[in-house]
Amino acid sequence: MEVAEMECRWLQIAKAEFFVLTARFKGHRKLFMGLVLSLGLLWAVYFAPLVVGLVMEVLTPITPIRVILQVMFPGLMRAVMLLLWMLLLIIPLGQALSEIKIGQWEILLASNVTTRDILVGTFLGKIPSYTLYVLVLAPLLLSPFLLALQVSLLGQLLIYTILTLMILTINWLSNIICAALQAKLGESSRGNDIAKALALLMGLIAIIPVLGLQLFATQFSVILGLNVFLVFPFTWSADLVSWLAITFNGINLTASQIAHFQNVLQFDLLTNGLLIVVFGVVCIGIGLLSAERLFTYQIGARSETVRTVKRENILLRGLRKISPSSFGSLVVTCFKTFFRQVQNLSKIAMALTLSVILPFLVILVYGQGSPITLDSLLPITGYGLAFMGIMAFSGTSFLESKDQLWMIQAVPRGTSRFVKARLVIAVLIALPLSLIPTTVLTIMMGLELFQFFWLFGYGYAMVCGAALFGTGITALNPNYEDIKSPVYTTSMMIANMICLFVTMASPFILSVITRFFIGVSLDTLLVTWGFLSAGVGRTIITAVFLLVLGALVVLVGTRRLGRPGT
């Protein structure tokens, strides 16, 4: 065989990416993609406006709301573009962080492929799928406005071209950032762990700058001497789309109307177009020029800083004193594995952050200064805390690999001892998880001490119940991968749904039972039994149900986990 000179290595990589994306249509890839893209274009310029127009005619005729849509258009486009930017940057970043794959690069780099080829090839391979997303989804949002302005076919084509180019620019940008992060974090197992933790916190990371922008836009504008939004590329692309719709309108907008748009948008069509082209060129240039730096392996997997364990802290020493048996040792080692994984710390941090936000949400629900009773406060706090319990204890970090499970199974009753140790840890972590938000809530709402104890006791029981569910379901359906795996998502969703169902349905079920068998309503029975009120009694029933059912799920999960393979 002759050695063929492969001039376009990036093309081969793009092809491979394309093959991965269209793996389901093996054999008819080109035909399928050509057909789908043609249909997408037809949908965007013909069917979508038709369908949206018909739906709007049914709901409300377009003529009376035409002016409203015209006025809303520029502002809404900016909001949509901001959202698109965040999503297109955050989602791939989250995915890249939760699944670091630099092994593939090693194969490519070993095949005498330049780093630039990898970046270009990976990006080009994704173009068809991203174009398709734009063609299918964008018309649903834009059509009402394009209909209101009666934008011509050429105008529509230009708008979708600009949108596609903008999305590809964001994709290019996220490709570069992902590559840099993966190269940096994928070098070590600790880096990998940090990456997974960051992926979990990605949502919070994305919300903070957007909130900051919304809250401090005026102050920034004063400092900059112009509308702060005008310095962001998402505004340029949004305004360019708005200008195209205005320029190619079919309703003969008057000069004064166009002047009004000019006042709102500030930069004209040409300036926005120029800015977005410059931004795109700069992005491409940065990517191509920095490619060699991004993909350089500076240190090997094991020449990283070696972490050595230190003397056990007071908590672990205390645990050993309380339980000097072999089970105590097991709890201590499980404690170490749990807290040394950054993604677990990230989950706990996330749960704690949400638990601190929870009181503010509770106040939002009740309104500042409104009278608070335990009856009304307990259910919302309880489910909120249960959700945090699930977030902290279900899905990941239970077992690192299937081989680990073999090792635990190879010990007599190994799985049941292991799960019990994990539950002890969950019960201990549940303490601060329930104590912090209930304390904040007590202080903020000026609750009495006995109310605090009720709230904390109930919250703690709910977190423990949720932890039981989370652990049990993870034992039934163990996840050896990371947060990107479908097993993780399934476990989280099932645990959450069951918890929500138990929280809502248990008092109702008991109420039906008491009416049917005793002939008395549950509320009457609870008051007769000496509960503070029927509402408080119902929440106690919920907690008991959650704990009992959670314990049952753990029991079943542990048995299943310990069962020999078939």
Partner: protein, 256 residues
Amino acid sequence: MVNNSICIKTEGLTKIFGSVQAIRELDLEVKSGSRFGFLGPNGAGKTTTVRILSGLLKQTSGTGTVCGYDVSTQRNSIKAVTGLLPETPGLYSKLSAVEFLEFIGALNGRNGDSLHQRIDRLLAILGLEGRQEDLLESYSSGMKQKVLMASTLLHDPQLVFLDEPTSRLDPAASALVKDLILLLAEENETSFFICTHITSFAEDVCDVIGIINEGQLVIVDSPHQIIESTKTRNLEEAYLKIVGGKVDRQTLLTWR
């Protein structure tokens, strides 16, 4: 009830995964105190056999006893008297070697000074004393294999299953494991069931060799007898003659 002369006995042991028959009618007898080498190509059924014998996997049909305990009904008793070194290391990356061994010890119901002394001695023998407090994530695959070896021996098992024990080890560490097996078998009468691809290792360490191919046991005998019966020079040649797979020099370069 422990049978003193036979530590492993199987009759018609069969395992089917969907359409794949991993083990077919396996009849096996391994004497106590022996070092049994289980050889076979990839996918021959070695690991499946080990998993069934160590109580981790249910057989489809057939019976078996390990150290006198039934593989179908007395799995916990089997686990208590055996040790297993799995094929791929399933270590906790965020624990140090000492902490991991403490974890395995605790799972086996052991703790305290006696456990720690045993851990320290084992790690010293395996040459890991300088790195024992480092997290396992920074260990090389050979070092991880040594930690796993220590975890297998920690609770002083009567029978040890070793699945590819030296595949990741350097020659010095392989020699160490070899000596350790020979010594434990001699001093403690520990039995070893060793799955391996490395015929030279099996020839040096094992007193009985079983060769499995496509789920069926082809031959069981001493290495010397196998070599003699196949009229070959060493176990590798005997293995290739029995299992097949030797490709001549001409064919080897036909792909070019």
